[in-house]
Amino acid sequence: MISYIVRRIFQMGVTLVIISVFSFLIVALAPGDPFASQLDPKSKPADIERQRDQMGYDDPVVQKYIKFYSQFFSDLGAVVTGDDTHEWELRSARTKENVLPTMWNKMLITLPLVLLTVLITWTLSFPVGIGSALRRGKVPDRVATILSYAMISFPGFWLAILVIKFVNGTMGIPVVSPYTLGVELEGPRAFMDATWHVAVPAVIGAFGGVAVLSRYVKGQMLEVMDQDYIRTAKAKGLDGDTVYYRHALRNASLPFITMLAGLLPSLFGGSIVFEAIYAWPGLGRWFFEAVLAKDLFIVITSLFVGSALTLVGILISDLLYSVADPRVKLA
């Protein structure tokens, strides 16, 4: 077990090095001068030269790469250990903000939105999927299937703006941004306000996920229910609920541990589109704006952290899987 984890972590390290090189190269070799917009147009050429020198803009790519990642890891250490006295090194040239602490704050803003989205997705998909597997071919199943096709095909961004029009325009409830701007609310009204603001994007975000996941649940259930041991359970006279929920569902849900792998990175980039549309000042929007402004440090850092989280998620889900299903041997 421990040697397996060690080996996996080593492999993750190699993958991350490749990704770091890859992402750095894409950004560093791209055309255009990303610092051009950050220099004061009125300054003299000599000053501009000096500033570019300070930023290390004309250094060789390798030197830039090493400098960037040494700063990144020194900051990361401070974030992990909660070192308040640390002097932050990685700093966006555009907004002058410290990249990693800002990233942490933005992640806290995104967190409620993503958590609610995931919660809605999972709580809706399982009943729908199990229900349509048990009533296979009957009316509820057909309705669920047709609905899930429609939901998968629905352009999320379009739905988002239609909902803005309906909720905001027709019902008169503001939903854009995390809370109503410019209005002081207190007590239950503030709570309702915040609820509306987080619930609407979360529901829209869960829309496509419910369709995909419920069909996956249905497929899993159908596969398990074809197995011999289910027939045996039925044959020995167990009632339907016991067979379906104790025998079938338990085995059908094993693959969903794999899906946990996707949760960690989705905290990070799961909602770029909806954050952009609903003006939610979270990680996705932060990254989107940094990308548009060609803010190199933020872009590379986000890509690296996102990839690292994906890898960690995969590792955790593999380990959980082996715990949940004794037949799986880690090799």
Binding site: V27, P31, I152, L162, F287
Partner: protein
């Protein structure tokens, strides 16, 4: 699709699949819908965007007076013409946009720039569908090639430098397709060097098949390079098109900026008219007049350049025609010669007329210049309100910017007008870009496939299992399966949306780059299941039998593996088109997808979003179009899956 050879059932699996498919009503309907969409995409331009409206008739009238060209089909890519002739009517005070509700000419109404929504939508269908198909083409080609190699040659070991060749070639190719020659070149040179080193070793090892494969790969590298070079900067056409795209972009940005400003002023005035006192109102009126004067000047200047371009073209025609007359006379074809000389006289007269008109226009420019200068000199007194003050400041900056941009573009624009007329730039511009990106993409993928085939050939020859310790040290080997699958896993680790956004933000806005990026980031799933499929197929009896009979690898691949593995690929490709259309429209909606002259559905939706509360159909209609397309492809894919694999019914 050819029949699987080894199965001996009374009915062919293909016929069974067809029967199952026809019984699946939603899938058949979806297929019909897709045919309809494709027909719409192909025939689009022939049916829409031709009706002149009252506005356009006015424009024609005006154009006859000023001698300017007018483009009736406002949906063409000719943003330049659009700017010149419609800037004034469309965007100047009193800030009315020319968005119109549906009427009998414009069945779906017009959008804020006065373009027919139906025509945009119809043309958009061709772009959106093309993007969907091409992106999936790229991803399927890449996925199947890599998955097939990993599945079939997975156990062989190859030298690591080959991996370097593949990665370097891919990186260089992507950069090349994105028109970043400078960054692409080192990659391509390094990849070519890798190929050369291996070719030398192959020759030394007397592996001539490998040498030929390498030669083809090298030729393709050269082809990509030369092809891009000739188009990009080697020919005057290439340069002229680059200029055209630059100018078009800037004019577009300008038009948007001016319109936004107009909307902003209107918003302030609408929101709180009392906030602006009489004096401020006067100031704003003055500013508006200033802007009007500046734009008048610009339009006049542009008219002069247009005329100069036409004069140059006409002048160039004169000696040609004279030579032709001389030739005709030498052949004593006097009648023809006299006809030609008649034309010549007419043309010369027109030339003279145009020269006269140009002189007049130049005079008009001078007058307008003076008008602008006088207007500029009028003192602007203190403005009391901060918001109005800000507005005025921005307006002044913008006005200055307008003049600067157009002046700076003067020479380029002249060249564009001359060259553009010769090449009929407004219509061929789009085709040209599509072709260039498409051909580049095809060349790059050919290159990758050939290199990959070489990997296979090299691995097959068994030449990699060297006993020489030096070779072992310098040319370490790795199993093909590891090589491909580790690369796939790395690609799967990077969050796709992040990657797409990053790549797109670095390049100019162009929907064909979106296509390439979507294709290049969506092949991993195909690779994985093609590999799994082939791994399971190659263990089956009929493949083993074919091997035992001594059938060659390539024959096994083409006659046995491809027909058996093609149905899941077809299914995933169909569903992939839905995904690609959705992804493209999402990116265009976010404003980083389609370029200024590319009307995709996502962009039309994004444009319509401004009028969400006044004209909801501007968002509804493109949204429904996207929904129907995506739904059709999803249903068709699902229908195909069930038809090919009846066991999965109802899953």
């Amino acid at each position: 699709m050819s029949k699987p050879v080894s199965t001996r059932k009374p009915t062919s699996p293909l016929r069974d699949a067809l029967r199952l498919f026809i019984r699946n009503t939603p899938a058949v309907l979806a297929l019909l819908m897709i045919f309809l969409l494709a027909a719409a995409a192909i025939t689009g331009k022939a049916f829409v965007g031709k009706h002149p409206t009252e506005d356009q008739l006015k424009l024609i009238e005006k154009a006859e007076i000023t001698g300017d060209t007018v483009d009736l089909d406002v949906n063409t890519h000719a943003v330049l013409d659009h700017t010149k002739t419609q800037l004034k009517d469309t965007f100047l005070p009193p800030f009315s946009t020319s968005r119109a509700d549906p009427d009998k000419f414009y069945v779906l109404g017009t959008d804020d720039l006065g373009r027919d929504v139906l025509a945009r939508l119809w043309n958009g269908s061709s772009i959106s569908l093309t993007i969907g198909f091409l992106a999936v083409g790229i991803s399927v080609l890449l996925g199947v090639a890599l998955g097939g190699i990993a599945g079939f040659f997975g156990r062989s070991r190859v030298r690591l430098p080959l991996m370097a060749t593949l990665l370097l070639g891919a990186a260089g190719g992507v950069l090349m397709a994105a028109e970043i020659e400078a960054a692409a070149l080192p990659f391509l040179i390094a990849a070519a060097a890798c190929i050369v080193i291996q070719a030398v070793m192959a020759v030394l090892g007397r592996r001539y098949k490998a040498v030929i494969a390498l030669g083809v790969a090298l030729l393709l590298f050269g082809g990509v390079r030369l092809y891009n070079n000739s188009i990009e900067s080697g020919t005057p056409e290439g340069r002229s098109y680059s200029h055209a795209s630059l100018v078009a972009d800037e004019s577009y940005e300008l038009v948007r900026a001016i319109r936004d400003l107009g909307i902003e002023v209107k918003l302030i005035e609408d929101g709180d008219p009392s906030a602006i006192d009489e004096e401020t109102r006067k100031q704003m009126q003055h500013e508006i007049e200033l802007q009007q004067a500046a734009l008048d000047l610009l339009i006049a200047e542009n008219a002069v350049y247009g005329h100069q371009a036409e004069i140059e073209i006409a002048e160039r025609g004169v000696p040609e025609r004279e030579a032709r007359i001389a030739r005709l006379q030498a052949l004593s074809l006097d009648d023809d010669a006299s006809i030609q000389s008649g034309i010549l006289t007419g043309e010369s007269a027109r030339l003279e007329e145009m020269r006269g008109k140009t002189a007049e226009l130049e005079k008009a420019v001078a007058t307008k210049q003076t008008a602008l200068e006088t207007a500029n000199k009028t003192e602007v007194t203190d403005v009391k309100l901060q918001s109005a003050n800000d507005l005025l400041e921005r307006r002044a900056t913008l006005r200055k910017g307008v003049v600067d941009i157009f002046r700076a573009k003067r020479d380029n624009q002249f060249e564009v007008l001359v060259k553009g007329k010769q090449l009929d730039g407004s219509t061929r511009y789009g085709t040209y870009r599509v072709l260039r990106h498409f051909i580049t993409a095809v060349l790059i993928y050919l290159l990758l496939v050939v290199t990959a085939l070489f990997v296979a050939a090299d691995a097959q020859s068994g030449a990699t299992e060297s006993k020489n310790p030096l070779t072992k040290l310098f040319l370490p080997t790795i199993s093909v399966d590891d090589l491909v699958m580790r690369f796939t896993e790395i690609m799967m680790t990077i969050p796709v949306l992040f990657l797409i956004l990053m790549v797109l933000a670095l390049f100019e806005r162009d929907v064909y780059i979106v296509m390439a990026v979507i294709g290049l980031t969506s092949w991993m799933g195909t690779t994985r299941f093609v590999r799994a499929e082939i791994l399971s197929l190659r263990e089956q009896d009929f493949i083993q039998a074919a091997r035992a009979l001594g059938v060659s690898d390539y024959r096994i691949i083409w006659r046995h593996l491809v027909p058996n593995a093609i149905s899941p690929v077809l299914v995933s490709a169909t569903i992939g088109v839905a995904g690609a259309v959705l992804a493209e429209s999402t990116l265009s909606f976010l404003g980083i997808g389609a370029g200024p002259d590319q009307d995709t559905w996502g962009k039309i939706l994004a444009d319509g979003r401004l009028f969400l509360h006044d004209a909801a159909w501007l968002t509804w209609i493109p949204g429904i179009a996207i929904l129907i397309t995506v739904l059709s492809f999803n249903l068709l894919g699902e229908g195909l899956r069930e038809a090919f694999n009846p066991k999965l019914r109802g899953r």
